[in-house]
Symmetry: D2
Subunit: 304 residues, 4 copies
């Protein structure tokens, strides 16, 4: 089996030109271009604090370096994500790998994978022994059991081995706060719970910190990758930002008609006061694993 | 504007016959029938503990009574849900209403709605003054600031006025635990945070309680309505259930190809040991607001 | 393997009551109710000619009787469909069957099915020998090789054995014209092509007939099941109807953001003059195999 | 209003490197890379005849030049498409333009657009006067009223003014046959029908020609852009190709669970003998307006 590579994205002037051209087309070709341009404006607007939500399990799919690069380049000021992304980040930081499954999926059944102690995430596999390595690392931790999740994640980032392969570490180094509102919904939190039975990380302290960050941002921009809790957590804070969000881009494959937040159109957020009525915003209906490389390459090219 | 009605579902022998017939067809017609049959088996299996996840904002869409009925009938043993459902549940319990928006959506812009203090959830509107009523209620609460979210939600259910219109109350009365892993991601939690600045509900206690519930269930069944955190929280606990889940039904409009958990096929969970390789399971690709009335009507008819 | 049953739908007053209640909710629960009500109005409006498009392969999924019933009850005045539906209709009319595949799909690979001469349509299987039976039937035909597709399909309906299991026969009997704009895109047309090498059914005569039907309909209603060519063919004709369509319902799982017609919102058709700006219309995002039984049961109940 | 530009795609070695890297990731990032590699193999396999289906309305979205370039470079041997793409192609060839609509869509209602004689295709607008220009052109034509659609389209390409902006012209020049199985389902065919009331283009001749092309292709590859009739028409012919298709890529946003062909998984085609069991194939779930620029840029880079 082959490892999933955490791909590294470079500047690409010809890709930038293609994006410039796509802005003059229609459908999602236009929208991915508009999303790049809005992100560029967010980065160039020195007043703008960029709130970035990352749902799903992007690390198993090889998107870890992209987010790390965005943090290091200053394209992300506040990160809100899932426990899954953090759990898989630690796995990679500790030297474990994810594997590429066969495209057809059906040369091995899920029962076969279970017998081989291999967990499937669509067409990516993760071996169970990752958890053993993680357990050893977690046992070495010493922290205030009542600190906020955000502060704990910063501590965790600092404790990780000095590997370039960690989003937690990159965020800690660059003082980018990570919020994980559903932190107990992941393998990392389960292991912490087993190792520290009295742990009670303070999720409400996080909420207050998040609202304060929004409150202090006279200009706010949001980039929503996928939906779920990370999207909602940013938008509920935006109601407290003096001018709500003035820039917003959303990358999603969910659809609006079921009334769920994940697929909700951005303009709906205007009614709630989460997006400013004069904001620039767009939604691109595309898998994030294709959108992220394009957006980062565009940003690296124009910001260099 | 017209109120959204919280619809009440009755038994319907002719609907049951239609479902029986649909089992002999193909595509989602067959699957909704198979889902009804699997749920029926879960209910009839006296050993089986039913874990039920409810994502999205089902209460604004008029699905509140359906879930209440399922709790009262014993079709749900453990409920995992979003803060949104709880926030809207309290709104209805306190006598507020949701309103039907125009189907076309475009006779009012979201800016118009914002000016009228009306928040949009696809084609449902909720007035902002709901939050004021909720605030008054929350100020009356007295509770241990370090209790688990589950215990707090049971307390909350008991404190609500004696209205038939509350899922929180119904769960409290019937001892159905409610887990809300991303509790701080909702309006209710924000108001609690403002009223009780030192609150630190213990999310890790919830995690341990959830795992213990799974651990104690020799036979476990899961019903997944929508995806997101509620789905994942149940499945991560299933890894600790002695036989993982032996029944599973999933109602979703998300798709598997992006690798997100919300749209993941159920058979993927076999690789993780979350679903037993011999389990009966099916996914129906349908909006939950249509699936829930059908499933409840079927269950009421066969279980009476 | 079990046969797919062509299900028979009955009136159901309690289902009608549930639909009435769902009209007061939100999301797709409301929309399926609104769709039923609009269809009811179309049927009750004696001036209204109902144009019905049926994409996909609904016959293999067991929906054949539903469409036959709708034709016989007068709920369909003009049918536009795919060659697939006609090919599978003839298979059933000649006594062949479709089979239910395993829900999991993966107990047999597609290679296994190929070796067994079994063709897969998602979770439905059709044996290859259907084509042999069809070939024998087609050899018995005698017709004007330059007639329109519509007239040929009416002839075909009359020639089929006197089985209740044929949409072609039901349409022929009730003088409901069937249009199949992409007729050469199906197994039936291929067999005709082999048996009658000089055949040149006149597709342009169909186009003129279709436009004339629209032209003569002072009041027109459309019911779109799925998208594709059948949807577009009806809507392009609606531009020639004196008042375009005054009622429109659409059942689809496709999405609008890619710019394709199949998922396009109905209101887009107002810009083209295909739907009247004062029309009543709604789209329900739901699998047709669940929508059709519900809609027919509702109509049978209210119209009896 | 701004014109939609028909974008021109160049080679881009850095994009090729990014695609190479993405092959080592997961989800759709991997699949778009695999799709590029399979297409590269098809082009490099000198025996391979490439059947290319193009659904939807890609010309209004600015994708016209991309398909023209692919024809001129020899990446397409047989084109199967919708009447919509041909109608819009002629509009551009005759000097008309499509326009970019506002991203929000809601600054103008569809009624406003109707009053301004402007037709909407999601976020692209086409003025009604296009049809007048097309009518003038069509009146100048002289052709055998019983020729095949394919031959008529080649004739049409030759008659168009010597503009670089025509897919019809490019195909005529490079002897790439165009099949349009649902030809009467478009504005172009309607105008032909009005101008030549006795026209009866021979769709069955097309079917025989298509089957012969498949029959003669010892090695066949298919590239499916969108679903619908063009996809099915290629696959039904593949049953007659000596080894069915040995390469297949599919770009779609439709989903498999409704049983419709548009979203069907490629492996399903193995059961029908439309894809060889040893074929290389992949589906990418992505809007074609983003996939096409990436794939063409990749091909231009590797094939130069």
């Amino acid at each position: 089996m082959k490892n999933v590579n955490q791909i590294k994205i470079d500047e690409n002037p010809l890709l930038k030109k293609m994006i410039d051209d796509m802005e003059n087309t229609g459908f999602n070709a236009k929208r991915i271009a508009v999303a790049c341009k809005i992100y560029e404006k967010m980065v160039n607007d020195k007043e703008c604090k960029i709130f970035f939500s990352l749902a799903g399990a992007m690390v198993p799919a090889g998107m870890q370096n992209i987010i790390i690069d965005m943090v290091e380049a200053g394209y992300i000021d506040v990160l809100v994500t899932t426990g899954a992304n953090l759990t898989h980040d630690i796995a990679e930081a500790l030297g474990f790998h994810h594997f590429q499954g066969n495209l057809a999926i059906d040369d091995k059944t899920d029962k076969d994978l279970h017998d081989e102690h291999m967990n499937r995430i669509y067409d990516v596999f993760m071996p169970n022994n990752v958890y053993e390595g993680m357990e050893d690392f977690i046992k070495t931790l010493k922290f205030d059991l009542n600190m906020s999740v955000k502060d704990f994640l910063a501590y965790l980032g600092n404790q990780l081995p000095n590997s370039p392969k960690s989003l937690l570490k990159a965020c800690a180094k660059h003082n980018v706060p990570i919020f994980c509102p559903a932190f107990t919904d992941c393998g990392l939190a389960m292991q912490i719970s087993f190792a520290f039975p009295k742990v009670n990380l303070n999720h409400f302290q996080d909420l207050q910190d998040m609202i304060n960050l929004a409150w202090d941002a006279k200009t706010a921009g949001v980039c929503i990758i996928g939906g779920g809790v990370p999207k909602n957590y940013i938008f509920q804070a935006m109601q407290f930002s003096p001018n709500s969000s003035q820039y917003a881009i959303q990358i999603t494959m969910d659809r609006p008609e079921t009334g769920g937040l994940s697929g909700a159109e951005l303009r709906e957020a205007i009614s709630w006061g989460k997006i400013n009525e004069k904001a620039e915003y767009t939604t691109v209906v595309i898998d994030a694993t294709i959108a992220l490389p394009i957006i980062l390459s565009y940003l690296k090219t124009v910001m260099k």
